[in-house]
């Protein structure tokens, strides 16, 4: 099938192939071999070197080189360090981490143990959303089994390495995916980010050196050791190695999780794997990187997907959300939709994110309601840039991306909203006008009877007309008319 042809499953290698509640099935597929080898060689520095050379970068959104992160944490001496797994997946419509935890929990456990060995941590913590009950249950089963088999606990596989895992539940705050906020939340404090430095590698959980990686990042680790860093780094582009899991969604024929090698183009993803746009409509834009990513147009369809190209294009990799929009999407409304999410999820600590995003949302509302001016567009642009420039954490720094990218690529659409008071996509209700063509109308009164607010007047067998001041743009008349006399402008 075309859907599978261009996919390559590394992080999702076991999902659907093994019973996640049976450790033996994981072991049969080379499970815990990487951990055994790393412990046998007993050389944390060499193991970190393998991860560094593989070119693996953080899959949670930041794209920071994983090996380097481990190295930094390993170099800070401390009586206690922590290996932390970020399983607080919060992007709307994204569920790659959940799939891995539900389908292959042992790959994360194994990777955390390897990471713990590399940085010198004997404790691991998985910060997981409480809204993932199945993932939690499977993790608990997997942890218990791993303990029973001696992959967790004291003197793992006869070595001198002790490592054990604990689960911590998140209460559903998007910002807790930011590593410092995540750590504060685990400490029982308010889930708010703090300025870096100090980085978690210097001062993390309980002020001890800590390393935070995302679920998908961890899922890649055992494979890198089993198949070698050379193999892993042969996949992908120069600076982005391996594969990435995306959650395809929106106006596209095949929706769901896909895993593709870095460097694949958006066109291949959308039109080959995704099977093209629903209902034969025109492709308009694709939003990558979750709610704070940017919208990319047709011009970017042949750009190879990797961390740096997406940022250069004004978007980002994020955790791998990919939402496809067709010609009927109104871009200011799309930007408004994403902004709404970041306004809701802002922690409220820094001014630009707390008040700025709210103001952006209000200005977009004005534009969508047909009350915007060109001045509003200037303010929108300036404020977006200021928020990007001044917000404290990744959430705030990226939240204006949907606005900036749609302004960049769909400027005309914004201008149409404020100067012509028209929504080119025909989506913005306030700018729609229903009018009756007097030549077509036979005066059957069907529309007047359907109108819930009595906005349509006219004599029987004479052309009717709509009072625009009363019209609530519900479309009932349009549905009722059998003579194509009503049109939307």
């Amino acid at each position: 099938m075309d859907v599978n042809k261009k996919q390559l499953r590394i992080a999702l290698r076991n999902c659907g192939f093994i019973d996640p509640e049976n450790i033996d099935q994981y072991i049969v597929r080379d499970g815990y071999m990487a951990l055994a080898n790393v412990l046998m060689q007993n050389n944390p520095q060499a193991a970190i070197e393998v991860v560094k050379k593989s070119g693996l970068r953080g899959r949670g959104g930041g794209g920071f080189p994983t090996g380097l992160k481990w190295e930094l944490a390993s170099k800070n001496p401390s009586d206690q360090k922590y290996m932390i797994c970020n399983a607080d997946e919060g992007d709307p419509g994204a569920f790659m981490d959940r799939s891995i935890l539900e389908g292959d929990p042992h790959s994360v456990i194994e990777a955390m143990a390897i990471g713990g060995f590399c940085i010198g941590a004997t404790k691991g913590l998985i910060y997981i959303r409480a809204e993932y009950p199945l993932a939690i249950k499977r993790l608990e089963i997997a942890i218990a089994q791993a303990r029973e088999y001696g992959f967790l606990g004291q003197k793992i596989l006869g070595s001198d390495f002790d490592f054990d895992l604990e689960l911590r539940y998140g209460a559903g705050a998007f910002v807790c995916g930011e590593e410092t906020a995540l750590i504060h939340s685990m400490e029982g404090m308010r889930g708010e980010p703090t300025f870096k430095p100090p980085f978690p590698a210097q001062e993390g959980y309980l002020k001890k050196p800590s390393n935070v990686n995302n679920v998908e990042t961890f899922a890649n680790i055992p494979v890198i050791f089993n198949k070698g860093w050379e193999w892993f780094s042969s996949i992908g582009t120069e600076k982005s190695k391996g594969t990435k899991v995306f959650a395809l969604a929106g106006q596209i024929n095949n929706v769901g999780l896909i895993e593709v090698p870095m460097g694949i183009t958006l066109r291949e993803v959308i039109f080959e794997i995704g099977g093209g746009i629903k209902g034969g409509k025109q492709f308009k834009a694709v939003q990558t990187g979750g709610p704070s990513g940017g919208c990319l147009t047709e011009a970017f369809l042949d750009t190879p997907i990797d961390y740096d190209n997406l940022i250069a294009a004004g978007s980002m990799m994020g955790s791998g959300g990919m939402i496809v929009m067709d010609e009927t999407s109104c871009m200011p409304a799309v930007a408004r939709f994403y902004l709404d999410f970041t306004v809701e999820e802002s922690c409220g600590k820094c001014t630009p994110c707390r008040i700025g995003n709210k103001r952006l949302c209000e200005i977009l509302d004005k534009i969508i309601e047909g009350k915007g001016t060109m001045d509003d567009l200037t303010i929108l642009k300036n404020l977006s840039q200021v928020i990007k420039d001044t917000a404290l954490c990744g959430l705030g720094q990226t939240s204006p991306n949907p606005i900036l990218s749609t302004i960049d690529h769909f400027w005309d659409e914004y201008v149409a909203h404020v100067t012509n008071k028209k929504c080119p996509a025909g989506q913005c209700k306030s700018m729609k006008q229903y009018i009756i063509d007097a030549e077509q109308c036979i005066g059957c009164t069907a529309c007047a009877r359907a109108c819930p607010v009595g906005a349509i007047k006219g004599e029987k067998k004479n052309p009717h007309s709509i009072n625009q001041d009363l019209c609530i743009k519900c479309g009932a008349c349009y549905e009722k008319c059998k003579f194509n006399a009503i049109s939307i402008i």
């Binding site: 300025f195 409220g348 001014t351 707390r354 700025g356 404020l383 200021v386």
Partner: protein, 592 residues
């Protein structure tokens, strides 16, 4: 530590490694504006969440702008604090803050003293590009503190004070995003919490979100009521700070002008809390010696160490947090309440005025005093011993309203008899002062000899926890001192664990003691002001002809004429109190 070189605004500078950009710039006269940042140097009080983003600067090679208050200087760094990108960002952030702030500056309690207003003036903001929803929260009035959270700018200074410095935990951020605000749990009223009303949240609030409950209108009404005789008492720390409200140098001792102003405001008798501070020493000192003698005689039942009880915020703190230790503090009332008790039970009779026709007003550097006077045990037939308490700031406002030119006033004395005081009474105004006053008296009574030196400098200072051993003629007495409730907590935990070596401990809730109380002129983060007031207190002490409480003639006369013995039956009835175990609404009583 080694030095590093960097460039700020084309100026090459050299600073110690680890210096923040903000500090480096200020050292070189580049005044980067701040809002959430607060640093009371030498007091271990800092707030730098890096969240307001007003101090934002550009660093060459960095993608986004950086907050100067928490970004450390790096060698070779090139910083710009005033290019168009920075100025635009800073202005936009300020406009955002103002867009979610009421514009009722004219009638705001912080008007003229507001850091946000000052920024708006500095940036010449004339109109706002944003019109949108404004935060709306319910106003909260407690006995001492007024919360108007529509004005909160989320600087989190109050939260830092309440949690880190006072370890009270009454205030913290709640809700998220645009609805985020600093409030008690479940956005309940402050009255329902373990708040001690120390008022340090008010003292650090840059805007009008937190202010004192204002009693000036009631005071004016009382003064102008022909049926009432109104007496006023002024706390020791007020005289060394009130001048600041009239552009006098911090540390100016304005006792004489203050008495003159109070008389011109129409108070019938201008008295001094220093007088009742001397009275407090007679009671507390006697109590200390009593306990000490029993302890030295091997009495296992006697509670040691003795803790001072002048500070009402501290009293409420231990009632909430250490109710198991509520028998340890001295039972002596605070000077404010001793004054009230004597004024209403002795002075009223003496001048032939009925208790209910005598109004006692106190001028305090404190917000907790407003709460203290409302406690039931300080009332007789629902008539409080002290009717109203106003802060130093409120008194200054009254003086200005009454067209009194404070600085040109002649220096006048307090009235007699409740106005005569000693140097020992004055030093109550600072951390370490109460215990030094007690030692001056206890030493002489215990040893029967005069103190070798009146100045017990080993008890002075501004470090959070101090200790000293005073030689009572061969008997070593261990004294502990703490200011700030986090420091008090440490000493209390030692007591709870049975590890405390002290015979007596003085505790004040506010950093520096009353000189930096919640009702004092705002310091805006300048600890030199506190230092100046501190020095002024000891100067005022030195200037007094009598410096030991037991030598106060007026106090001696009171015992002879009315009270009898210190800690005697009448004194016990009028001048001592008891403490309660207090719970907040959310606490579960584990005893039940």
């Amino acid at each position: 530590m080694e030095n590093i070189k960097l460039t700020i605004d084309n100026k090459e500078i050299e600073v110690a490694a680890g210096t923040t950009i903000l500090k480096a710039a200020r050292l070189h006269n580049i005044e980067i504006p701040t809002l959430c940042y607060f640093d009371l140097k030498g007091m271990d009080i800092t707030n730098k969440p890096g969240s307001c983003r007003i101090c934002t600067v550009e660093i060459e090679g960095r993608k986004n702008l950086a907050p100067a208050c928490i970004t450390e200087c790096m060698p070779g760094m090139i910083v710009r604090t005033n290019n168009i990108r920075v100025l635009n960002a800073r202005r936009s952030v300020l406009e955002l803050l103002l867009s979610d702030h009421p514009t009722d500056c004219l009638i705001c309690p912080k008007s003229g003293n507001c850091e946000l207003q000052a920024l708006a003036v500095r940036f010449g903001i004339r109109e706002l590009p944003y019109q949108g929803e404004k935060s709306s929260h319910k106003r909260d009035k407690s006995p001492a503190i007024l919360r108007d959270m529509d004005k909160c700018v989320m600087c989190r200074r109050c939260e830092m004070m309440c949690n880190k410095f006072q370890t009270v935990g009454a205030l913290s951020a709640v809700n998220r995003g645009f609805n985020a605000v600093v409030a008690p749990a479940f956005e309940d009223s402050l009255s329902q919490t373990a708040c001690t009303f120390c008022g340090q949240c008010v003292a650090v609030c840059p805007v009008g979100a937190l202010s004192e409950v204002n009693h000036t209108a009631s005071v004016i009404r009382a003064i102008n009521d022909p049926k009432k005789t109104v007496v006023v008492q002024t706390a020791p720390a007020v005289r060394v700070a009130i001048g600041e409200e009239f552009r006098m140098k911090p540390g100016t001792i304005a006792t004489g002008q203050m008495s003159a102003a109070l008389r011109r405001l129409g108070f019938d008798y201008v008295f001094d809390t220093d007088w009742s501070a001397d009275l407090t020493i007679m009671e507390e000192g006697t109590e200390l010696l009593g306990r000490l003698n029993k302890y030295l005689a091997g009495d296992k039942e006697v509670k040691m160490p003795l803790l001072t009880s002048c500070c009402p915020a501290w009293v409420k703190f231990f009632e909430h947090q250490f109710p198991d230790l509520k028998d340890i503090p001295s039972t002596a009332k605070s000077p404010q309440q001793m004054f009230g008790a004597i004024a209403k039970n002795y002075f009223a009779q003496k001048i032939g005025v009925k208790r209910e026709d005598l109004i006692v007003v106190s001028v305090m550097p404190c917000l907790a005093k407003k709460y203290e006077l409302s406690r039931d045990e300080f009332k007789t037939d629902n008539n409080p011993d002290v009717d109203f308490s106003i802060t130093t700031r409120e008194l200054a406002a009254l003086i200005k309203q009454a067209n009194i030119d404070f600085s040109s006033l002649p220096e006048e004395d307090f009235d007699s008899p409740l106005g005569e005081s000693t140097g020992a009474g004055v030093i109550f105004g600072t951390t370490g002062g109460v215990i030094e006053a007690a030692v001056r008296t206890a030493y002489e009574i215990h040893t029967g000899k005069p103190c070798p030196s009146i100045d017990f400098t080993e008890l002075r200072g501004l470090e959070g926890i101090r200790s000293a051993t005073i030689d009572f003629d061969g008997l070593p007495i261990n004294i502990g001192i703490a200011h700030g409730l986090s420091n008090a907590r440490k000493l209390l935990e030692e007591i709870r664990e049975g590890k405390s070596q002290f015979h007596a401990i003085e505790i004040m809730a506010c950093p520096g003691g009353c000189i930096n109380g919640g009702g004092q002129p705002l310091n805006h983060g300048d600890s030199r002001i506190i230092q100046a007031r501190w020095e002024a207190i000891y100067k005022a002490d030195k200037d007094k002809p009598i410096r030991k409480s037991h030598e106060n003639k007026s106090v001696q006369q009171l015992y002879k004429e009315f009270l009898g013995e210190p800690c005697g039956e009448k004194a016990h009835h009028l001048l001592h109190t008891h403490y309660f175990k207090r719970k907040t609404e959310f606490e579960v009583d584990l005893d039940k």
